[in-house]
């Protein structure tokens, strides 16, 4: 075996180096230096993010391990997008990780987080289902440990057991689907499956695809499979929730697209277009309707993220390079908007322990800057014009419409109507902060910690700039369309 193949995995190696540095620092440094673990991780990861971003232009399409692993400009870009998100999560988590209860275990938190990111890298780059399953599991198992991290809170354990049981269930369903695919085509390589499916679609293929789509649907919390989402998001520590809702969802969405296009591309119009069609309508609508009645901010954002996952799936059903580009752009914008919201929630939770929407009444009077950041996040998530969220929704609708069939027009119309519904509940939060003043115990004025403010500044800058500066979308679009047909990715 040619061991130099490992050198093709540049970003994975970089991430492993970061992980080893953090691990060695956490294990061997004297106790006093451990107070800097969080800062050390942030700095090392920031350096890695920068280096990997600078190497982006030099990236070429290479594959290793006889085609099991592939990386190229598109894969590197999505990994860089995830890196930016993880960096913000790391910065925002600093305050929580240094709190009294977490001090003993904060090193483990960072190590687990980096390992899940490694699993997501593998999911994105895998071109063979064995590697994909390994990536999927190493992305979701450490996450369960992270969800259970707040050992002094009962909710955290409850969320963790719900998460691990549904995660195992979904991966069992997913692997059952894979076994059908294997029986059908005799291979687990995406390219061989693509060739083996051929033009006719047997019942077995439809069953296999239903299993595969529902398995990944669990990870993405698409609607019939979303029941774990709200409980897990509420019970997990806020930093883990933010990680779960943006990074893990973004990686799973991209991997989903790669699987559907590269392995099952030929079955698009007859099989999985209609499955996704139903899933998207259900996801967007049910997510929106349930979000309206939530009073806990984390549950509220959980249902909002369910419906956002539906919008992300519009980029998959588009089945063209514009859809791919707009999906990546949507993930980027979603990372910034959602992390801004979670940054504010985390800051308030760390300072006062309050997470209910009613507690936010009159927040503008006491903490104008925090409520302003929250307002920007809500506007961006709802898609109000000058902010990034509007452009991401605009592009993803454009990508879907380019597919051209009447059914997709109807789908986009339904998504548009749902955008209006979503405006209602996003503005409920804004109303609570700015208009409702009747509140006996208003959250007092407090100054959030340095790291939290840094995280919020980055996300607010992202919300303001990503939409207006056309460079971001244009560069993603030109890169995806220069690759030619989707199947080469």
């Amino acid at each position: 075996m040619d061991y130099s193949q490992f050198l093709a995995m540049k970003q994975e190696i970089g991430l492993l180096i970061v992980f080893l540095l953090v691990f060695l620092y956490d294990t061997f440094m004297p106790k006093k230096a451990l107070n800097a673990t969080a800062g050390f991780t942030c700095v090392v990861f920031a350096i890695y993010t920068l280096v990997s971003f600078c190497c982006l232009s030099a990236c070429e399409t290479v594959s290793a391990f006889s085609g099991m692993y592939t990386t190229g400009p598109v894969m590197s870009t999505i990994k860089n997008i995830l890196n930016v998100g993880v960096l913000i999560v790391l910065i925002q988590a600093t305050q929580w990780a240094n709190s009294e209860f977490q001090i003993m275990r904060r090193g483990e938190f960072y190590e687990l987080l980096l390992l899940t990111l490694f699993g997501m890298y593998l999911m994105i780059s895998a071109r063979h289902f064995l590697l994909f399953v390994i990536g999927l599991e190493s992305a979701s198992l450490p996450l369960a440990a992270m969800v259970a991290f707040d050992k002094q809170h009962y909710e955290s354990h409850e969320a963790a057991i719900k998460y691990i049981l549904t995660a195992v269930f979904s991966s069992a369903v997913f692997m059952m689907g894979l076994s059908f695919v294997y029986g059908l085509t005799g291979s687990l390589y995406f390219t061989d499956i693509y060739a083996g499916i051929g033009a006719e679609h047997s019942v077995m293929l439809i069953m296999a695809l239903a299993f595969v789509i529902s398995g990944i649907g669990f990870k993405l919390s698409l609607v019939p499979f979303h029941l774990w989402t709200a409980d897990v998001y509420q019970g997990a520590p806020t930093s883990v929730t933010s990680y779960l809702s943006v990074i893990s969802k973004g990686a799973a969405a991209f991997a989903f697209l790669v699987i559907l296009v590269q392995a099952f591309g030929l079955a698009y119009s007859q099989v999985w277009e209609w499955m996704l069609y139903a899933l998207i309508i259900l996801t967007i609508t049910v997510g929106n309707l349930f979000a309206i009645r939530q009073r806990n901010m984390k549950r509220f954002l959980a249902f909002s993220s369910v419906s956002q996952a539906g919008y992300i799936m519009l980029g998959v059903i588009a089945f063209n390079t514009t859809g791919l580009a707009s999906m990546m752009y949507y993930i980027l914008v979603y990372i910034f908007s959602n992390l801004a919201a979670f940054g504010v929630i985390g800051a308030i939770e760390n300072a006062t322990g309050k997470v209910n929407m009613d507690d936010y009444n009159g927040l503008y009077k006491t903490n104008p800057k925090l409520s302003f950041a929250m307002m920007l996040a809500m506007f961006s998530l709802a898609g109000i014009p000058p902010f990034a969220g509007f452009f991401s929704k605009f592009f993803i609708f454009t990508g879907a419409i380019q597919q051209g069939s009447t059914a997709i027009y109807v789908l986009v119309l339904i998504a548009l109507i749902n955008t209006i519904i979503s405006l209602y509940y996003y503005l409920l939060v804004v109303k609570a902060m700015f208009i409702n003043t009747e509140n006996e115990c208003v959250i007092p004025t407090f100054r959030s910690s340095c790291s939290e403010r840094l995280g919020l500044w980055i996300t607010v800058a992202g919300i303001l700039l990503l939409g207006i500066v056309s460079f971001f979308y244009n560069s993603i679009l030109s890169m995806t369309s220069s690759g030619g047909i989707m199947i080469d990715l």
Partner: protein, 103 residues
């Protein structure tokens, strides 16, 4: 009597359905975990049988099964760790008691 593929596939499908049924109806968390194991083992049988009967030339299904067994072990270990944590807090592992967070 010759053993065809069906003699293996039907029991494996039956195991999978039993697993799903147990996952939905069982009240004890350990029993739920056992149901999950049933599902995962059904997948393993499927892979091995397809490999043995349809594609005896390559070993892909066998290798997948080996990895799937390892992954299942990791999942069970983690789930049991979390169940032990819950037992310490709540002194019970009945899923009906795990209902502090609901709609």
């Amino acid at each position: 009597m010759e053993l065809t593929m069906l003699y293996y596939l039907i029991p494996s499908l039956f195991m999978f359905c039993c697993g799903v049924y147990g996952f939905v109806t069982r009240k004890n968390m350990i029993a739920i975990l056992i149901s999950l194991e049933l599902m995962l083992n059904a997948v393993d049988i499927n892979f091995v049988v397809f490999n043995r009967y349809l594609f005896p030339g390559n070993m892909e299904g066998m290798f997948f099964t080996l990895f799937a067994i390892a992954i299942a072990a990791a999942e069970t270990a983690l789930a049991i760790a979390i169940i032990i944590n819950i037992f310490r807090v709540a002194s019970d592992i009945d899923v009906r008691e795990i209902n502090k967070m609901k709609f």
